[in-house]
Each structure stands twice: as C-alpha cells, then as structure tokens.
Symmetry: C2
DNA sequence: TTGCTTGTTGGTCGCACACTCAATAGCATC
DNA sequence: GATGCTATTGAGTGTGCGACCAACAAGCAA
C-alpha cells in the first residue's frame, strides 16, 4: 500500500483551514506569480482536494486577492512597521530604501508588478492593490512627518515627497523581469536614495552613509 | 444559404498574410492585453481558421512577442522619431513627455506593464522587451545629446538623465490599471516634466511652457 | 485549358482550468 | 461509546487553450 500519499482526512476549523489556504497561496504568489494560484495547485500544496479550496473561496479571484493582500501586508510590516521605536526616521528610511532596492526584494517587486497588471482583469485584486497602495503611502508619509517634526527632514508636502519616492521605486521595480544591461550606470541603483535625499532636503549622501543594522 | 460567414478561401502571399496576422494581434494586444492573443481570437479577427495562425506562428509565444514589438515600434516612431526636423530638442522632449503622460497614452502604458510582467514567463517576449527598452533609451539619449550640443540642455551624463526620466515615466505607468485617488496632488502628473527639467538643467517650468503643436 | 504548387481548411487530441454537488467521514459533544 | 454536525471528498461538467495533420482548392505557370 502506498504510504506517501495522504488519504486520511484531516478535519480543521474553518478559520485555520482558511488561513492555511491563504498562506499557501501567498507563498505560490511570491515564488511563481499570481496566475499560478489555481485550485489544483493550492490543493496539491496542502494535500487536499481542489473542491475544498472552492468551498472556502467560491471564486478563485477572491483567493488571489487575499493571497496578494496577505503577502503585501507581511512585507509592509517588515519594511515600514507602524510602531517604530529605537531608531530615527532617517535610519528607518535608509533601511527601507536599502532593502527595497536589494535583490532579496525582487520577489516582492515581481509581485507588485504582477498584481498591478492582473488588476486590469480582476476587480477584486484591483481593490486590494488600491488598499495596499494607500497603506504604503500612509506609512511612508507618517515616517516623513515624524522626520520633519524632529527636524531631520525638510519638505513642504510630505505626501508629494512620499509619492515621488514611491514612483522611483515602482519605476525601478518595472525592470525586475527584464534582462539587466551589465553596463547600467551605478547611479541608477542609488536613485531611490538620492531621490529621497533630494525631496527631503537632506545633504547628498546622507542616507547612503547611514549604517543599517539588520 | 448563410451569406455573412466567410467560407470562400482567400489565398494571400505569405508576407502579406503574416503582416496581417501581426497587425491584428497588435490591435488586440493594445486594446485587450497580450494574454488575449490566442489562435482562435486572431483567426476570428481575420475570418480564417485557427490552424492558419499556427501555420505562420507554430508557437503562439512568437506571435505575442511580434505583436508587442510591432505596437512598440509604431509608438516609438510616433513619440521619439529618429529623424527629427523642424523643431528643437526642447520642443521634441516637451511633446514626448506631454503625450506620454496623457490619457491617450494609457493603452501603451498598459501594454508596457503587460509585457514587463509577461516577460517573466515568456523568454521570447523578454528578449523583445529588452530590445525595445534599448531602442527607447537610445532615442531619448540621442535627443538629449542634441540638446546638449546646441546648449539647450545641460547634463554630465545623458544616459543617466535619460534613465532617470524613463524611470519616472515607468513608475507612473505602473498605476495605469489602478483606481486613481481623486485627491492625488497635481504635482504628480507633472513629475515627468519637472524631472526632465531638473536632470537637464532647465529652469523650472521651462518644459511646461513650451507650446506643443500636435 | 490543364496541371501543380502551396496556402488554407476542418477536424481532432490532450491538457488545464473553474465550478458544482451529493456522498462521506472526522471529531466534538454528550 | 454513540450521535450529529459539517468539513472534506470524489466524481463530473463545460470551457478554452495550443498543437498537429491529412485533405482540399486557389491561382499561377505552362
């Protein structure tokens, strides 16, 4: 008798099963893309039958939106935590920009690109992207305001400054699936940092110089 | 007898049939997205049988790449023509940025977003996107060099300046499928213009002031 | 007009997808 | 240990996709 295949039913509470499904979908989304979230794929991942996924998410589109939202939520807590303690706004900002430009962040960049494109066809996802967009914006604005309040940053409009920084991050994120030209000038990779320094009235190199303890 | 359906064969030269197919696919790509390019869809569009599309493009992926390339080629000729005559670099640049930020350009923005994401799964498309990326970059660099040569622009590194402008355009293009917040500050829409003015050493508002004859 | 090249058809195959629902069985409760 | 609720299964439906290929016929050349 085959022992490796799971044929014994495991009955879980709706809440935990649902969470499990979203978590699995989230992993697939980050690693392989949102279009790889299918009933069969997620069911296989959890060793259950496809029908079960349908039971919790009658429309796959809702699972896709949820998976994206879950991954993005986790990322925002990691990169722009709400309760910032133990470090100055400048340090937090430097850490954020440093990470968001790093290669370890590529999966997240891919996910954003993926979600923004797929939004075209999936209203539920479009809604979720808009929410995340606002959440990230708000967090960054709050960070900037704090910095302005204690005199570290100088800007007339924190919202515009935040958007300018995010536009640059998005613009660079667009290239994540491309063939990176080896001759790309090094200034490009530092664009997020230099942009932030400029719009926040920091001296050139101020953010690059910050030591980021990870 | 049904008269509306096309059942008489029309035999065309391989070259013109192929061009016709690419043109149809290109239209579908711009209007509905690259993933809507299917054998059946394009065949319907041309009132031929799906097999015929397969005959010219044994792998659909190649048609997708071709359709994207064709659309992007048309657009670059429209926005950044190679032989620029009758207008100054400043005027050309202003016209380019004005259009690229306008709503009429949304379909093109969507196509780029689409292509950049789909590149993740389709090598042939990824290749094409890289080519286009370089073409656009080169055209913009050439325009900037011309401007520098006649003293209209001032920059140490035309390539870096060009990339900075394109990053901002891409970053804004990322938002094309999103729900645009009504309260978006007006500065955002002018970001391409102000960015160009800054990186090219132009006085603030210089590009906005240029009259663009369409 | 006849013949022949080859552009085009029509049918088929296998696969992957979302979604439905009656039947089954895990497990908390008593 | 028996019972009942419901989480889970298993089987099936219909759609759309890319790919394949033998047979057909359009239109040029002889």
């Amino acid at each position: 008798m085959p022992s490796s295949i799971q044929n014994k039913r495991i009955r879980k509470s709706p809440a935990s099963r649902r969470a499990e499904i979203v978590a699995a979908a989230s992993v697939v989304a980050l690693a392989e893309g949102l279009e790889r979230i299918t009933l069969r794929r997620i069911a296989d991942e959890l060793s259950v039958r496809p029908g079960l996924i349908s039971h919790y998410f009658p429309a796959v589109e809702d699972l896709v939106a949820e998976a994206y939202g879950s991954a993005a939520d986790a990322e925002i807590e990691e990169l722009l935590p709400a309760g910032r303690a133990g470090a100055t706004p400048t340090e937090h900002l430097a850490r954020f920009l440093r990470r968001a430009a790093g290669e370890a962040y590529d999966d997240v960049s891919r996910l954003w690109l993926n979600a923004r494109h797929l939004s075209r066809y999936r209203p539920a996802l479009r809604e979720r992207v808009a929410e995340q967009e606002n959440a990230w914006r708000d967090r960054l604005v709050a960070l900037i305001r704090d910095g302005v309040a204690i005199g570290e940053f100088r800007t007339e409009d924190p919202l515009v400054s935040a958007i300018q920084i995010m536009v640059v991050l998005d613009g660079l994120g667009m290239l994540v699936n491309g063939i990176s030209p080896a001759e790309d000038p090094p200034e490009i990779k530092r664009l997020p940092l230099t942009t932030a320094e400029r719009v926040l009235g920091l001296p050139v190199g101020a953010l690059s110089a910050v030591e980021v303890t990870d």
